[in-house]
Amino acid sequence: MNLNHIVYGNLKLSNILFAVLVMVLGLILAKIISNYLRRSLKTKMNKDRLELIIKIVYYLLVLVTVIWVLSALGIKLSGLMVAGGFLGIIIGFASQSIVGNLVSGIFLTIERPMKIGNAVNIDGTVGIVEDINIISTRLRTFDGLDIRIPNEKVFTTSITNYVSNIARRFEYSIGIRYEDDAQKAIDIIIKFLNTESFVLVNPAPLVFVAKLDDSSVNIAVKIWSPVSQWYSLYMRLLWDIKVILEENDICVAFPQQVIHFADKENAPTIKPGQ
């Protein structure tokens, strides 16, 4: 193979091979530096900021490598900028959705409605944010599926971030029998909640009679807890409250109906067991 073979103009085959080699080495170097930064800064800053810094460093290194390679190939950057400008317009028209996603990605990075690791609901898709790229956002659903959502959709739809605040409230409705003492039940529930570490002292839990229902007196229980603990608490406390109420002879009501017969004389008599 003749390395001095002229490919185009003054461009030799050896120049192209050298440029490819430099480009590959540049990409490998960028990857190595990214990995080094990820390892060394992992425990020193949150994942969201770390990923942003790593992406900036990676793309800067790639850009520097590309510029250097182009210069080495004798391509004038000023000419390339003009050509790139025209090319950009053509590509922009040809791929509006990609540009839309790119711009949305930039705005998402600036607005930061969510961070990597947050539990979010994006237009009905619930999951943990795995990555926010410049084109798309990746979610891992709670059943382990990987979902890629274009940034344009993320930016223009509603996002519910379940963990952006440090505390959140959840609630139960507990129906007790009409013959039970509702105030006693409220006192028992409050006393029990005051023994739970992750039920916040302030804002204090609210426990009150919320509804006189068909078959039950409904007691609303509204609890604030640290956002990192709320779901484990939410899963556990309802049953604990039910058990502690029953230990105090207060029972959860079953649906029931009292029937009054207009003709009591001829009303059927129902014996136990019938």
Partner: protein
């Protein structure tokens, strides 16, 4: 005598607490039973000591808070431009460290208190804090050092108004805890800047002579960008 360094093997028994460390072929078995809460660990190292000392009370049951908020049982009213000293109590968390030649690593933390948490400020920009309610003492109170420590709090009302103080926020980073066998203590300074704004920082001195300083789990060496002051902007 629980706080301080212990040589291995050791067996500490005191009312509801049992700590047993036994040596076996280049390793140690660690068993702790604190009121029925049992932890067992295997430590793979050679010659070693055990250090038992109070640590920042923000670790248990889960390290979700960086601050300790102490609510006062009674409000304190302070006239303008005056300084007063009060004593508060704080919950004790005891750390068990393993190591040698003064270099210790945290092995276990336990407490005899029932941890509670509270929110200081708003859910969006407030803090989750470890919560403790304390009586106000004008003289140093007597406490059980395994359960409660003492904070000597100097309150400086630097404002030109009367202020009412019913809580104090302490940053877990930079807590200076000192101990002996009878007492665990901290010293802090609260400067009231305005009616609703104050800043609190710890002082690096012991309440009594010959008290030892506890290792800091949340020292500035590990968190160099974190302030060690607690700024109370959401009421005092």
């Amino acid at each position: 005598m629980i706080f301080g360094e212990h040589t291995i093997p050791c067996d500490i028994n005191q009312s509801d607490l049992q700590i047993t460390v036994l040596q076996a072929q280049n390793s140690f078995s660690y068993l702790r039973n604190c009121a029925g809460n049992i932890v067992e660990k295997l430590i793979l190292m050679n010659l070693s000591d055990i250090l038992i000392a109070p640590v920042e009370p923000i670790n248990l049951p889960s390290p979700v808070a960086s601050y300790l908020m102490i609510e006062f049982a009674r409000e304190i009213m302070l006239e303008p431009e005056t300084k007063q000293t009060v004593y508060l109590t704080f919950p004790i968390e005891t750390g068990v460290f393993v190591g040698k030649k003064g270099k210790f690593e945290l092995l276990d933390v336990f407490t005899f208190t029932k941890p509670r948490y509270t929110l200081y400020g708003e859910p969006r920009n407030g803090f989750i804090c470890k919560y403790w309610k304390s009586r106000i003492f004008l003289e140093e109170p007597e406490t059980d050092p395994m359960v409660e420590g003492i904070i000597k709090l100097d309150i400086d009302n630097a404002s030109h108004e009367w202020v009412t103080v019913n809580k104090a926020l302490f940053n877990g980073v930079g807590m200076k805890i000192y101990y002996n066998q009878n007492c665990v203590s901290m010293k802090a300074q609260m400067k009231v800047l305005e009616e609703e704004v104050a800043e609190i920082q710890f002082l690096s001195s012991a309440l009594h002579k010959e008290m030892k300083k506890s290792p800091e789990l949340y020292s500035l060496k590990r968190l160099s960008v974190v302030s060690k002051k607690a700024i109370m902007l959401e009421g005092i």
